[in-house]
Amino acid sequence: MNMYNKKRMIPLALPALVLFLGVVVIPFAIGVVYSFTSWRGSYFAGGDHFWQSFVGIENYIKAFHTKKFIDSLVYTVKFTVVAVLVITFFSLFVSLLASRLKRGIASFYRTIFFLPNLLGGLALGYIWQFIFEIVYSKILFGPQGLISLPALCNMTQNNTKALFALVLLFTWQMVGYMMIIFTIGLNNIPSEMVEAARIDGASNGQVFLHITLPMLMPSFTIVLFLTLSKCFMLLDQNIALTDGNFGTRLLATQILRTTRDSAPPDYGLAQAQAVIFFILIAVVALIQVSITTKREVEI
């Protein structure tokens, strides 16, 4: 099978390559060029063509001086730190649980955990908005609810609470996906190694720390990379859940809304913010991948 694919590599890869170039690479390059101009969406302020309206790094300086951009950056970082920890912990936990079950039941549970991942971002956001605003605040944890817990009421109306609301939503969506990655990783741990450890008298904790975790490092690489990048780029759920009110605007929403903050709309500024966004995610992801790859254990 591999030989078959290798020989026909060029024609097989060609359509995807062309699409990737046309839809991702070329617009990206154009975007980077435009970020150095005063682009207004349908024209360039200062001339008819983009080379007549270069403004150098003025857009980048303006971006860093925009309070909304810095605020959304800080909020996104806070959200990402919490979300990555929570998602990684829960997905590992769930995959370990499922690995203990018999095959049929394990598949059943895995399917249920994976289902939320199939929903689109906007639909999820609106469903959870309803849950936070009505189910939590009125039925379950409100003053007349089952148990009165003010901390869990009106979570979409407070900066900090909304962060946890978003984490809850995103965890619900992502745990299934990450759990599958961990499950594959767990299945790749040779059982002989675990048996040998038990014969040597290792406890459960020691098996987990010294065998399971190091062998799972490749899975950690993937899970952390995916979670980090998805958290940074979160858009639909943010808009649907809080629409950025109460200071809960994440970075992607901020870039989207920049063009509505001035007349004429400043697309050059938005583009500069997008490039900063890209560099940020790329740097963080690359650092993360290199750290976790170094810790991968070869059998």
Binding site: V18, G41, Q157, N245, R260
Partner: protein, 504 residues
């Protein structure tokens, strides 16, 4: 030759068929991508006139009007409409950057106009070739024009208005059938104090059943001793869409801004002194907002700003179900109300929104407190503009279409009956909108009891995102307001405007 074939097709000619299939499949992707269904009629690209319509409510009627015009002239007209409520800016900019630009597009107000003038897309109407069109542009009332530096760039779509929507049958059940007409007339000329007392009396009646009477413009109206008919469903005086910042951030504050500036252009060019002098109007606005949100169907608090409880659709449904007496909305909500409860649509009317202004709050020449009290804002929500960058032939057709739409009988029929719009240039004494709310607006226009939408000159984003957001996050979600609430709101409104407009 065989070696050549072997290089490209390893595995020999036997696998050639399979290889060919692969290439054909790969190639067909490009062919299908390239084919975008371009019709062959018209000047090579499928149409003679391209209209980009951003007011989605009239999409079908616009298409019908365009087709009727096209048939008359023997040309093909392409209409592109976006869904109502969708933000159309990005799509419009994409179309403007393409080869096939729309000849007619939409501009909302003078703030949006800046972009299109700077990019040289909006055509200056004094450069129009069609004489009828020039006449049409010249006869637009000055207060309804889309102008920058004295140059006209837009033809109004229609006029819209907003105020307190009330169901006359509900008033009949509250105050007696015979008093309804006199109540409405008395309400229009009532002072804010009388209005405020009325709200308190009705709220007490709704909550506790305490009968009482209401005095408006000197006449007294007694509440029915027992709640009958529609009045039994009432749970509050106002239906407030707390999660929709534009209802109180844009439209409600507009009424206060109308006392400071005569039109949007004056608001755009304001100075620091003018704004500071207008602070008392914003205080009056805060008082009205306080009154409305304290007497709403939902208790003022976190619930009032939840989109699931008090979003736009929910607020309209609450009113349509008879749970509230007043709904502050515009004639555009008619369709929603009809869908929610078609029984009440025939007896709806507008009542003016009142704010506690004194003559010293008013800085517009010739404007009186009485006029502010008995008028509703009537304004143009959107304008047709012509693209200066299309061919001369297209510009000519665009001008002819706009003349046809706004002056011919057939065009007016489309505007009034099919699009359900109130034409900006129709004689209010002779026109009927065909539905209750539209006719109500026309009657206000006929009596000259209208105020404008000066808030359109405020900095972009000041009204909805900043003022609306501030109110939503600090005031509408709290049951009680601190003593300095009014001053704080007015102070924020003014200082934020100064910051955003860079006038310090």
């Amino acid at each position: 030759m065989k070696r050549f074939i072997f290089m490209i097709f390893p595995g020999g000619l036997m696998k050639l068929a399979e290889k060919l299939l692969l290439f054909v499949l790969a190639g067909s992707i490009f062919i299908f991508a390239g084919c975008s269904g371009k019709k062959t009629a018209g000047g090579g690209r499928g149409y003679d006139l391209y209209i980009f319509n951003t007011k989605g409510e009239n999409a079908e009627a616009m298409k019908a009007a365009a087709d009727a015009f096209g048939k008359e002239k023997g040309i093909t007209v392409k209409v592109f409409s976006l869904g109502s409520g969708t933000n159309s800016d990005d799509t419009l900019r994409t179309e403007m950057s393409s080869k096939d630009k729309p000849a007619i597009f939409s501009i909302m107000n003078s703030q949006a106009l800046v972009e299109w003038v700077e990019g040289k897309y909006a055509m200056d109407f004094s450069a129009a070739k069609n004489q009828d069109f020039k006449k049409l542009a010249d006869t637009i009332p000055p207060s309804l024009r889309l102008q920058q530096n004295g140059v006209s760039y837009g033809i109004p779509y229609n006029v819209e208005g907003y105020g307190f929507i009330v169901n006359k049958n509900m008033l009949a059940d509250l105050f007696g059938k015979d008093s309804v007409d006199s109540f409405i007339e008395a309400f229009k000329t009532a002072t804010y104090k009388e209005f405020e007392n009325m709200v308190h009396v009705v709220e007490a009646y709704i909550k506790n059943g305490t009968a009482g009477s209401v005095t408006l413009s000197g006449s007294t109206f007694k509440l029915a001793a027992q709640k009958t008919g529609l009045a039994k469903n009432l749970t509050g005086v106002f239906s407030v869409a707390g999660s929709e910042k534009w209802t109180y951030g844009d439209h409600l504050v507009n009424i206060a801004i109308d006392t400071i500036f005569p039109d949007a252009a004056a608001a755009k060019n304001t100075t620091k002194q003018e704004l500071e002098a207008g602070k008392s109007s914003f205080t009056a606005y805060a008082k009205t907002l306080d009154l409305m949100s304290q007497n709403a169907t939902t208790l003022r608090g976190p619930d009032l700003i939840n989109a699931t409880i008090n979003g736009y659709d929910q607020s309209v449904a609450t009113f349509a179900a008879g749970k509230a007496l007043f709904l502050k909305q515009g004639n555009w909500a008619y369709g929603n109300i009809e869908r929610a409860n078609p029984d009440i649509t025939k007896t709806l009317t507008f009542l003016p929104v009142k704010m506690p202004f004194t003559q010293s709050d008013i800085h517009v020449q010739g404007l009186t407190v009485e006029h502010m009290n008995d008028s509703i804002p009537v304004f143009v929500p959107n304008y047709y503009a012509i693209n200066a960058k299309v061919s001369d032939r297209e510009k000519e057709l665009a001008e002819e279409f706009l003349v046809w739409l706004n002056t011919s009988e057939e065009g007016q029929d489309f505007i009034i009956n099919k699009m359900s719009f109130i034409p900006y240039n129709a004689d209010p004494a002779k026109t009927s909108a065909g539905y209750s709310l539209g006719d109500s607006i026309i009657s206000y226009m006929a009596q000259g009891k209208t105020i404008t939408n000066a808030y359109a000159g405020a900095p972009v984003g000041w009204a909805t995102d900043n003022l609306g957001g501030y109110l939503m996050e600090h005031y509408l979600n709290k049951e009680t307001w601190p003593d300095n609430a009014y001053d704080d709101i007015a102070g924020y409104a003014v200082s934020r405007w100064e910051e955003m407009a860079n006038i310090n």
